[in-house]
């Protein structure tokens, strides 16, 4: 129990991670899949941010006092990069969803699979 309280941030991250991952796998709607993917990525950002925390540490800013205890800034910088990557992924993902909708008229996985299978069967009988 004390373990659970001491590491509450990791349990939060794992819960968020699984919610996002579940949505990616279980949802057939492409937008919901993207939402799940974003939650999944965000949980990893939180994992990194919380590991940089130092007990009683301040923000990592030079104060001139060498004894100041400060948080580890490296994970924060890494996650800044990862956020940029995440935004780019989200942008490409939603752009693809828009194109899929324009082309097929649906963004539901099961309907898409039906249309694609019908097309492939037609193609195979032509060949």
């Amino acid at each position: 129990m004390s373990n659970l309280i001491a590491h509450w941030n990791y349990f939060l991250v794992i819960a968020l991670m699984m919610i996002g991952f579940y949505a990616v796998i279980a949802r057939g709607n492409m937008v919901k899949k993207m939402v799940g993917l974003t939650i999944f990525q965000t949980s990893v950002f939180m994992l990194y941010i919380s590991m940089g925390k130092v007990a009683n540490g301040t923000a990592p800013i030079l104060t001139g006092d060498a004894t100041t205890l400060y948080a580890n800034p490296l994970p924060h910088v890494l996650i800044l990069t990862a956020i940029v990557v995440g935004v780019a992924t989200t942008a490409v993902g939603y752009a693809l969803i828009i194109r899929v909708y324009e082309s097929y008229g649906t963004i539901e996985d099961d309907e898409l699979i039906k249309i694609i299978e019908a097309e492939e069967n037609a193609e195979a009988s032509n060949a």
Partner: protein, 440 residues
């Protein structure tokens, strides 16, 4: 100038990409892409010969910050070998891309196509060169994001490219995120991201459960990226519906880079003595590899579309590389590297030939290549040679890699696995023979 070569071959295509996006006019962007990939190829050859002559590892400190504080680029025996493969195939594919892209992609998208093209090449070269674990992730995402866009550009001719690109994006991002989770755990344990530093500091904490979890996350993420069975479902539609030039570039290089990164992290960072690596992970990779070799080959036998057929066979060939890794021995590793090299060349040749067929007779399926051997003998000869190498017929490159693979398995007395490898190779005959019969 000479000491900046390790960074230059990544930087040239990376900086060329926004420039290519701005260029207008016929063939301007293509010319720039050709120039830059050619330069990257030349640089990687120089680096390869330098490394071979001196036998030393070249280390380049980015911005003059030495490891472990700064990011370093490392040219060692392994990366010096993989770099020319990637940049060479990128160069050849760029030469071929001019006609293929003109035929398949809307003229106003050409500049953007070559921008994404250069970015994906820069990302792959970066992944191979860098000695920093987080930098690998950044380059992985640079190459993947532009690859999703490139695959989606096949939509002009074949709208199935769009859902294929979307599924590739979802699974690719999940794979990359798994890699980052594993990396986070490693950073918590060791406080470093430099690969060499990581392997040294990991030795002290290698029996902790967190270290093994990190290995599991990183390996799983890279299995997804290298399309190891059963995480390969994104690969076939993505390669089959992408523009021909993109299929050739990606089939030859993208998954190989992930195989390389996996080898580098598993053997270079975790090390062969890491608890649970040789038995648990090795056995898993071995089993999935052999299963992939069978599933890929059997699925390929059922395909009528040539692009899908060779994409399915990629699953099988990646399975062979996994078997080499899973053998967890020096010979197995050599086999994996030789097959990585050979398969990159074979698949580049095959997919470029398929692109040439598509340009001449339309879609490359079993129906359309009927009797094409008389119309386009040169292209069909290329497919014949490539296919024979894929099977591993003696006198082809594929034979050498299969030979090493079987030797590595026999070394450890995996008789059954060696026999299964042989059988799955033999199964390539009906897969390929079917297309051969149509040629005459």
């Amino acid at each position: 100038m000479m000491q900046h070569l390790p960074i230059l071959q990544v930087l040239l295509p990376l900086l060329g990409a926004p420039l290519a996006a701005l260029l207008r006019g016929r063939d301007m962007a293509w010319g720039l892409a050709l120039l830059l990939t050619g330069a990257a190829f030349l640089i990687s050859i120089i680096l390869f010969s330098q490394q071979q002559m001196t036998g030393e590892t070249l280390v380049y400190d980015l911005g003059g910050w030495p490891a472990p504080i700064g990011i370093v680029y490392v040219i060692d025996a392994a990366s010096a070998l993989v770099l020319p493969v990637i940049s060479g195939i990128a160069f050849v594919a760029t030469i071929a891309a001019r006609r293929l892209v003109e035929a398949e992609i809307d003229a106003r998208d050409h500049a953007l196509f070559y921008a994404a093209w250069l970015l994906t090449i820069a990302g792959m070269l970066g992944q191979v060169t860098t000695g920093d674990a987080f930098n690998i992730f950044v380059f992985l995402e640079i190459s993947s994001l532009s690859a999703y866009a490139l695959v989606a550009m096949g939509a002009g001719r074949d709208r199935r490219a769009l859902p294929a690109a979307f599924n590739y994006l979802i699974l690719g991002t999940v794979g990359a995120t798994f890699y980052v989770i594993g990396l986070g755990l490693l950073y918590m344990l060791t406080g470093t991201l430099n690969l060499m530093d990581l392997s040294e500091r990991l030795a002290d904490v290698q029996s902790t459960r967190a270290a093994f979890t990190a290995l599991a996350f990183i390996a799983l993420g890279l299995f997804l990226k290298m399309a190891l069975f059963p995480l390969h479902f994104w690969l076939v539609p993505a390669y089959a519906h992408a523009p021909s030039a993109v299929s050739a570039l990606m089939a030859a290089t993208a998954t190989k880079v992930s195989v390389y990164v996996l080898i580098r992290l598993v053997f270079g960072v975790f090390g062969i003595d890491f608890p649970g690596l040789a038995d648990a992970v090795g056995l898993l990779v071995l089993t999935l590899g052999i299963a992939g070799a069978f599933v890929g080959t059997l699925a390929a036998i059922l395909e009528t579309d040539l692009k899908k057929l060779f994409a399915q066979s990629s699953i099988a060939q990646l399975g062979y590389m996994a078997i080499g890794i899973g053998a967890m021995s020096a010979t197995g590793l050599a086999a994996a590297f030789i097959h990585l090299f050979n398969h990159a060349l074979m698949k580049a040749a095959l997919f470029l030939a398929i692109g040439a067929i598509a340009a001449q007779v339309g879609r490359a399926s079993m129906g359309t290549i009927q009797g094409a051997g008389r119309q386009i003998p040169l292209t069909m000869t290329a497919i014949l040679v490539g296919g024979l190498a894929l099977i591993g017929v003696p006198l082809t490159a594929g034979f050498i890699s299969k030979l090493y693979l079987v030797r590595a398995l026999l070394e450890q007395d995996f008789w059954l696995l060696a026999a299964l490898t042989f059988i799955s190779s033999a199964l390539h005959w009906p897969m390929f023979g079917k297309s051969l019969k149509r040629l005459g």
